[in-house]
């Protein structure tokens, strides 16, 4: 593991609009993410966590501060090293599952034969072996989101940005997908930024949690989660888990 951070943010701020209509979307975002970390960004609606994801994806420019992705040891190409997963799977209805997974490879013009093999391997990794030729409507919401995760990995990006990927799933499926994500993260060895409303989800998944507060939107805290890996569901009842969640509740003024 390199000692240099993979993502370095210092004083990042972003305001939408001008004058009286100006709306502060994010401020004071200062934190580092090491290569291979799973960092969770947690906070209420309107705290700027999704804005930060868009800034990292290069979709929106930031007004102030420093955003640096990549290091000497792990160089980063913003045009091809980002995978994205959204709250909705957003699979193309008319494509088979494997062809959906292949979309980023097609856009980047990667060699199709290798990409197809990789897509098959990834579908096996996310637990969708044998679903290659199915259409999205034949899969449940959780299954579709698994396919969306495979799609985010197919071009072998160095950074995967996830914006509340399990927010639309029922509670049980969500717990299951949390365990699955940890397994996929371990095997794929990617740096993941995971945006969520769920405080216990953030502590359970993250190697690091960055807390944001709304009104005004700003970053409030950034700390490591020193729970052992692999994580198991019974860790949620451990003393240490409670300490972390209470710390976040306190920051969000929900004590």
């Amino acid at each position: 593991m390199s000692a240099q951070p993979f993502i370095h943010l210092a004083g990042v701020a972003k305001t939408y609009g001008k004058g009286a209509k100006a709306h502060l979307a994010i401020s004071d975002a200062t934190f580092d993410v090491m290569p291979g970390e799973l960092a969770c960004l947690v906070g209420p609606s309107g705290c700027g966590k999704s804005t930060l994801l868009k800034i990292l994806a290069g979709l929106h420019p930031h007004d102030a501060g420093t955003v640096k992705i990549g290091s000497d040891a792990v160089p980063f190409d913003p045009g091809r090293d980002i995978g994205m997963v959204f709250q909705q799977p957003l699979l193309l209805k008319w494509r088979t599952i494997v062809d959906n997974v292949l979309l980023p490879a097609e856009i980047l013009g990667l060699p199709m034969k290798e990409s197809r093999e990789r897509a098959s391997d990834l579908l096996a990794l996310v637990g969708l072996k044998g679903a290659e030729d199915k259409r999205p409507y034949e899969l449940s919401g959780g299954m579709q989101q698994r396919a969306a995760i495979a799609r985010a990995l197919v071009h072998d990006p160095k950074l995967v940005l996830m914006d509340e990927p399990f927010g639309a799933l029922d509670a049980l499926t969500r717990e299951k997908m949390n365990l699955e994500l940890l397994r996929i993260w371990k095997e794929a060895g990617k740096t993941i930024l995971f945006v969520t409303h769920g405080i216990s989800e953030a502590v359970f998944l993250g190697t690091r949690v960055v807390v944001f507060t709304a009104g005004p939107a700003r970053m409030a805290d950034d700390f490591r989660i020193d729970l052992p890996h692999p994580r198991t569901l019974d860790m949620k009842t451990h003393e240490a888990f409670g300490v972390y969640t209470r710390r976040i509740y306190k920051l969000l003024g929900m004590e």
Binding site: G58, L59, M84, L90, W94, L103, I107
Partner: protein, 258 residues
């Protein structure tokens, strides 16, 4: 025991309901003491097509003319409707300029344009095609515009992070996504095209099934009028069936817009 999910059972039931209507029609005329000039029996109607006097109606020519008007006007509307919609998605100013105008034009009852079209272009196959075109271009245009607009913003973000081109967005996401909408407009237009062509023939023509209906009306040859209506319906069903078959081939079941 066959169930309703079975395709053959469903086809059989559809055939049965059609035959039942035919039977009710036959029995009604046979035992209802209905004069032939009010309602001919199915047998009388069929006789106009197969009987000794069939030659006088020029069925083949008249049907071919009407079918040409319907299919021609429809095909033209499909090409123009889709191309205009494409132009609008490529140029926002063009859409802002033209779309409100087209919505206003759509409010004109196209049938009312018939007499004008005949003044401008005389009567014949081409003016009737134009009436069919004017009536079915709008549903195709409007649904295609709507379909091309229906792109998830997050999906656009995904393509943008990979530096995908506008052309890639269009061919991989926008156009296939719009197909179900285009087909829903095409289905509506298929029914309108038939009405447009027949209205054109009523207003002024010297060939076609609509023209024939006006001719035989004078002599109260109701059986021939029935036959003409049947043939018009068959042309319409052919067009609609073609659209349905294309939809089946190109649109996955889940994505179809009814």
């Amino acid at each position: 025991m066959p169930t309703l999910d079975d395709r053959w059972t469903r086809t059989l039931m559809a055939v049965l309901s059609h035959l039942a209507l035919l039977l009710v029609w036959y029995l009604f005329v046979r035992f209802g003491d209905v004069p032939k000039f009010v309602m001919p029996s199915p047998v009388d109607t069929a006789a106009t097509l197969f009987g000794p006097r069939a030659g006088g109606y020029n069925w083949w020519t008249n049907t071919a003319v009407t079918a040409t008007e319907i299919f021609g006007g429809y095909a033209f509307a499909l090409v123009v409707g889709v191309l205009l919609a494409l132009a609008f998605t490529w140029s926002k100013p063009l859409e802002a300029l033209m779309m409100p105008l087209l919505v206003s034009l759509n409010m004109i009852p196209k049938v009312a344009l018939g007499p004008l079209i005949i003044v401008w272009f005389k009567y014949g196959v081409v003016p009737n095609m134009m009436i069919a075109f004017s009536i079915c271009v709008f549903p195709i245009l409007l649904t295609t515009v709507r379909g091309l607009r229906e792109v998830e913003p997050d999906l656009l973000d995904l393509v943008r992070t990979l530096r995908g081109s506008r052309w890639q967005v269009f061919t991989k996401i926008q156009l296939p996504g719009a197909l179900p909408y285009i087909f829903s407009g095409m289905k509506v237009a298929a029914i309108l095209a038939v009405a447009g062509a027949i209205v054109g023939e009523f207003l002024g023509s010297d060939k076609g099934l609509g023209y024939l209906m006006l001719q035989v009306q004078v002599t109260l040859d109701t059986a021939a009028m029935f036959m003409a209506v049947l043939l018009i319906t068959v042309i319409g069903m052919l067009l609609y069936g073609t659209v349905l078959a294309l939809e089946r081939a190109f649109v996955v079941p889940d994505a179809r817009v009814s």
